[in-house]
C-alpha cells in the first residue's frame, strides 16, 4: 500500500554534551517514497539517520516502525527489522575481503563447524549484485585495499543483502562516479517500484530535487518543514536550509570562455601506465579547465600526475612562468603549484594535527626567517589570517582539524594554498561533502582567483559544477581526451554524457 506511513519519529531528542544534535524531531516516511533529508553540515541529518540505524540511541522521544515501537540497539538489530543502511559511520572492515564484508555480522548462515564458507558468501553476493545490476566487484580483495568508490558499493551491497523494506543512504553519491550514480538511480527507481522506501541525505541539491518525492529540511537540529519536491523551487529550498536569503548565483553567470594570452601550464605526451594515455594540452592563465569522465577514465590520476605525484608518469609537465619541469611534488610545491586532492580527510589534511599546522604546511618556505627558522609567531599570524579570511568556523587555530565540519575542513584545505603566490591550481572534487554555504563560498573563491589570472584545473564527478565553472571541458574516456568543449552553446550535460559513455 503506497502512501501508508512505515516509519515515524515523535519528539526525538539527542544531545552530545552541550551540543543539541536533535530537538523534538517529528518525521514520517511513507511506503514507496524516496524521502530526502536536507540541511547544512551540523543540522542533525546524520544524527537522525544514525538513530534510525541503531548506531546511536535517543535521549527522549520514540520511533515507530510499521506502527510498533522500534528501539534498535545496533545496526544489526536494524538489519533484522528490514532496514538497510549505508552511512558514513559504518564503513567497511579493511582486513576482511569485500564479499565477507557484505554479510559481516550475519555469517552464521554460511558457517559450519566454526569455519566461514567464503565461496558460498561470494556466490550469494554475486547474485545480489546481479539482481540489482551493480556490476562486478573483486569480492576476494580486502576491502581496505579498494578505492572509496568500490567500498561504497560494498556497503550498498551489504544494505541490499538485508532485503530491506527501508533503505538508508547517507551521502553515497558523493563517492560515486557518473556511471555508478546512474546505476544507483536505477536501484532507487526499482526499489520504489517495489513499494519500498528510501531515506537519503545528499549535499547535491540538484540530485535531491531530481530523485526525491518529498524532502524534510532540518536546521540546527530542528525540522523546518516537510515538503513535496514538486512544490518547491531550488532557491526556496536553499533559503529554508540556511535560514536566510542566499545571494546571487552559485556558478558563473557569464556564458563566454575567457582567459589571458599567456600559458600557465603545458602538458606534453603525459602517460601514466594505462590509465592516462599520451595526453597533451595547455592551461592558460585565468582559465578554468574542467575534466570529466567515468570512474575508470583516469581523471583523478591526471590530477596526481600533474602535481608530480605519480612515479609511473611519463611525458612533460611544464610551468611556463619559469619554464620549470614538474617531475616531483617537491618541485611542484616549490614552483607555486597547488593540489587539492579528492579525499580530503586522508589525502589532504592531517586530522589529528591542529588547524595551524595544517594551514602552514605548504607555506613553510615563505615563513622562514632570515636565519632559516620557522617561528611560532609567523605561523600563528598566517594561520589566524587565513582562518578569518576564509571564515573558517573554529574556536582557535589550536583546535584539532578533525573537529571541524566538512565545509570548514575544505576551506582550510583550499585556503592554505591561496595565501601563496600560485602559478597553477589543481582541484580534485573541491566541493565534495560540503554544504551549500561552503560550496557557494568555494565557487566565489574560484571566480575571484580566475579574475586574478590564475590557471586552474577542475576535476570533478559533478557535471553541473564543471559546466557551471569551467571555460573549457575535456571529456576523458579510457585515459584519452575524447572531446574538448568550449563554454557556450556546447556546454550541455548531454554533450558530456554522450562522449563519456
Amino acid at each position: 500500500m503506497a502512501g501508508e506511513i512505515i516509519l515515524k519519529t515523535e519528539k526525538l531528542c539527542k544531545t552530545f554534551g552541550p551540543t543539541k544534535a536533535n530537538i523534538d524531531v517529528d518525521f514520517e516516511l511513507r511506503r514507496g517514497e524516496v524521502h530526502g533529508l536536507v540541511g547544512e553540515n551540523g543540522s542533525g541529518k546524520s544524527t537522525l539517520l544514525s538513530q534510525i540505524a541503531g548506531i546511536i540511541g535517543s535521549d527522549s522521544g520514540r520511533i515507530e516502525l510499521q506502527g510498533e515501537v522500534y528501539e534498535p540497539h545496533s545496526p544489526l538489530d536494524a538489519y533484522d527489522h528490514g532496514i538497510g543502511i549505508v552511512v558514513q559511520e559504518l564503513g567497511v572492515i579493511g582486513n576482511v575481503p569485500a564479499g565477507v564484508n557484505v554479510f559481516i555480522g550475519r555469517t552464521q548462515r554460511f558457517t559450519k563447524f566454526g569455519i566461514v564458507n567464503t565461496t558460498k558468501i561470494n556466490e550469494e553476493v554475486r547474485e545480489i549484485a546481479k539482481e540489482w545490476d551493480l556490476g562486478d566487484l573483486p569480492l576476494n580483495k580486502l576491502a581496505g585495499a579498494m578505492n572509496v568508490e568500490s567500498r561504497k558499493q560494498v556497503e550498498l551491497l551489504r544494505a541490499l543483502a538485508v532485503d530491506p523494506e527501508i533503505l538508508i543512504l547517507d551521502e553515497i553519491t558523493q563517492a560515486l562516479s557518473y556511471d555508478n550514480r546512474r546505476r544507483l538511480y536505477a536501484i532507487i527507481e526499482k526499489f520504489k517500484a517495489m513499494g519500498r522506501s528510501i531515506l537519503m541525505i545528499s549535499h547535491d541539491l540538484e540530485e535531491i530535487m531530481a530523485t526525491c518525492d518529498r524532502l524534510t529540511v532540518l536546521r540546527d537540529g530542528r525540522v523546518v518543514d516537510t515538503v513535496e519536491t514538486s512544490a518547491i523551487s531550488m532557491n526556496d529550498l536553499k533559503r529554508m536550509m540556511v535560514g536566510r536569503e542566499m545571494e546571487g548565483e552559485y556558478y558563473r553567470v557569464d556564458n563566454e570562455p575567457s582567459r589571458r594570452e599567456s600559458i600557465a601550464l603545458s602538458v606534453e605526451n603525459l602517460s601514466v601506465t594505462d590509465e592516462v594515455k599520451d595526453m597533451s594540452f595547455d592551461i592558460y592563465d585565468g582559465e578554468i579547465v574542467g575534466f570529466c569522465g567515468l570512474s575508470g577514465s583516469g581523471i583523478h590520476t591526471i590530477g596526481k600526475a600533474l602535481y608530480g605525484l605519480s612515479d609511473e608518469a611519463k611525458g612533460k609537465v611544464r610551468l611556463r612562468k619559469n619554464e620549470a619541469l614538474i617531475d616531483s611534488s617537491q618541485k611542484a610545491l616549490h614552483e607555486g603549484m597547488a593540489y587539492v586532492p579528492k579525499e580530503r580527510d586522508w589525502e589532504g589534511l592531517m586530522m589529528q594535527a591542529n588547524i595551524r599546522d595544517n594551514i602552514t604546511l605548504p607555506g613553510l618556505d615563505d615563513l622562514k626567517s632570515k636565519a632559516g627558522f620557522v617561528w611560532n609567531g609567523a605561523l600563528n599570524k598566517t594561520a589566524n589570517k587565513a582562518v578569518s579570511e576564509f571564515s573558517v568556523k573554529c574556536n582557535s587555530i589550536a583546535q584539532e582539524m578533525g573537529g571541524l565540519s566538512g565545509g570548514n575542513k575544505q576551506k582550510v584545505n583550499l585556503g592554505r594554498w591561496i595565501a601563496k603566490d600560485l602559478s597553477c591550481l589543481v582541484l580534485d572534487c573541491p566541493t565534495r561533502g560540503v554544504d551549500v554555504g561552503a560550496k557557494a563560498y568555494i565557487y566565489n573563491l574560484l571566480k575571484s582567483l580566475k579574475a586574478d589570472g590564475l590557471g586552474m584545473i577542475l576535476i570533478s564527478d559533478e557535471l553541473m559544477e564543471v559546466l557551471g565553472m569551467a571555460d573549457r571541458i575535456f571529456v576523458v574516456k579510457d585515459g584519452e581526451i575524447a572531446r574538448e568543449l568550449k563554454r557556450g552553446d556546447e556546454f550541455t550535460e548531454d554533450n558530456i554524457i554522450e562522449v563519456m559513455l
Binding site: A21, A353, G372, N376, K393, G403
Partner: protein
C-alpha cells in the same frame, strides 16, 4: 576578534604526573634518602648517553618510524673511530671518524627506508643483529691477537668530555640545537607532518625521501655523539658497548608519553621528562638495594605498563572534556562572519 584557547597537552601533563608520582613513592620508600642523594648532575650523569641518543631518535619517532640500530651503531662507529685513531697514532681523529661512521650508517638507513621503502623496523633490526655480531668479534681476544695495533685506550681531547666545564655546556647546547631544529625549522615540521600522515605530506609536496634520509642520518649522528661520551666515561670499547641503548631510549620515549606514531605531539621536553622518570627510578631502586640488572629491567617493564594505562586513561579523560564546537558557538561565529 579571535577566540584563542590553547589546548593543554595532556600527554605532557601525564608524564609530569608520572615523574612526580614515582619521585614521591621513592621518597617514602627510602625515607627521604632519595632527595639527599638526588641532584640534577647526578641524573644527567646517569642518563646522558640515553638523552643524547634520544635527541637524534626524536626525528625518527616524529615520522612514526623506528630506529633500533642506534645501540649497534654507537658500538661499531666507536670501534671504527678508535681503531683508526690507534692505527694512525693521532688521538683526536677518533672524534671525526666516529661521527662520520655513525652518520654514514644513519644515512644508509635513510636510503633504505626512504628510497627503497623498506620498513624502518626491519632495516634497523637487521643492523642491530648484524653489527652486534661484528662488535663482539672485534672485541674478542682472537681479534686482539690478530690486530694488536688496534687496541685503544681513550686519550687526548676525548677525555675532555669527562670534565664538567665541557660536558654540561655541550649537553645543553645539543638540547638547544635539537629543540630548534625539531620545532622551529622546515625540516622539523616536515618530519612531524610525515608522522601525522605521510600521504598528506607527499600530496602537499614534502620531499619525503630526503626528509627520511636526513632524519635517520641525524639519528645515527647523535648515536655517534653519544658514543663519544661513552668512550670518555668507559675509557675505551668493549664487547657490550651500546648494548640495549635502543631499549633504554625507547623506554624513555614511552615514559615521556611520546606517541610511537609520531606527529606534531612529538616534543623534546617529553623526552627529558621520560629520561628523568627513569633516572629517579634507577636511583631509588639503587638506594633500596635493588641494584641488579634483573630489578632494573623488571621495574622498567612495570613502569611502561603503568604509563600505557595512564596514557589510555588520560586520553579518555581528554576526549570527555574536549573543546568541541557547539552549535551555539557555530551560530555565533557565523553571525560574526556575516556582520
Amino acid at each position: 576578534m579571535k577566540i584563542r584557547r590553547a589546548k593543554m597537552d595532556v600527554s605532557m601533563l601525564t608524564s609530569v604526573i608520572l615523574m612526580v608520582g614515582i619521585f614521591v613513592v621513592f621518597l617514602f620508600l627510602t625515607g627521604g634518602n632519595e632527595i639527599s642523594k638526588f641532584s640534577l648532575t647526578n641524573i644527567i650523569d646517569s642518563s646522558i648517553i640515553y638523552i643524547i641518543a634520544g635527541l637524534g631518535y626524536l626525528f625518527v619517532i616524529a615520522m612514526g618510524s623506528a630506529d633500533l640500530s642506534i645501540g649497534a651503531n654507537l658500538g661499531i662507529s666507536c670501534i671504527i673511530g678508535t681503531s683508526l685513531a690507534t692505527i694512525w697514532g693521532v688521538d683526536w681523529t677518533a672524534i671525526p671518524v666516529t661521527l662520520a661512521a655513525a652518520l654514514g650508517i644513519g644515512l644508509i638507513n635513510g636510503v633504505l627506508v626512504g628510497r627503497l621503502k623498506v620498513p624502518s623496523f626491519m632495516v634497523t633490526v637487521a643492523w642491530l643483529l648484524g653489527i652486534r655480531g661484528m662488535i663482539i668479534y672485534t672485541q674478542t681476544e682472537v681479534f686482539e691477537e690478530l690486530f694488536p695495533t688496534m687496541y685503544y685506550q681513550t686519550a687526548g681531547p676525548l677525555l675532555l668530555l669527562k670534565e664538567s666545564f665541557v660536558k654540561y655546556p655541550l649537553f645543553v647546547a645539543l638540547i638547544v640545537v635539537v629543540y630548534l631544529v625539531l620545532t622551529h625549522t622546515k625540516f622539523g615540521h616536515y618530519c612531524r607532518s610525515i608522522g601525522e600522515n605521510e600521504l598528506v605530506a607527499r600530496n602537499v609536496g614534502v620531499p619525503i625521501k630526503n626528509v627520511k634520509l636526513w632524519a635517520f642520518g641525524l639519528s645515527g649522528l647523535m648515536a655517534g655523539v653519544a658514543g663519544l661520551f661513552y668512550l670518555a666515561r668507559n675509557g675505551g670499547t668493549n664487547n657490550t658497548i651500546g648494548q640495549n641503548l635502543e631499549v633504554d631510549v625507547i623506554a624513555c620515549i614511552f615514559a615521556g608519553c611520546i606517541l610511537v606514531t609520531g606527529g606534531y605531539s612529538t616534543k623534546l621536553p617529553k623526552l627529558l621528562l621520560g629520561c628523568f622518570t627513569f633516572a629517579i627510578l634507577k636511583n631509588g631502586l639503587g638506594l633500596m638495594g635493588y641494584n641488579t640488572a634483573f630489578a632494573k629491567e623488571l621495574s622498567q617493564g612495570l613502569v611502561i605498563i603503568l604509563i600505557m594505562f595512564a596514557v589510555i586513561k588520560m586520553k579518555d579523560w581528554e576526549s570527555k572534556r574536549a573543546v568541541t564546537i557547539t552549535r551555539e558557538d557555530e551560530v555565533a561565529l557565523t553571525d560574526r562572519a556575516i556582520s
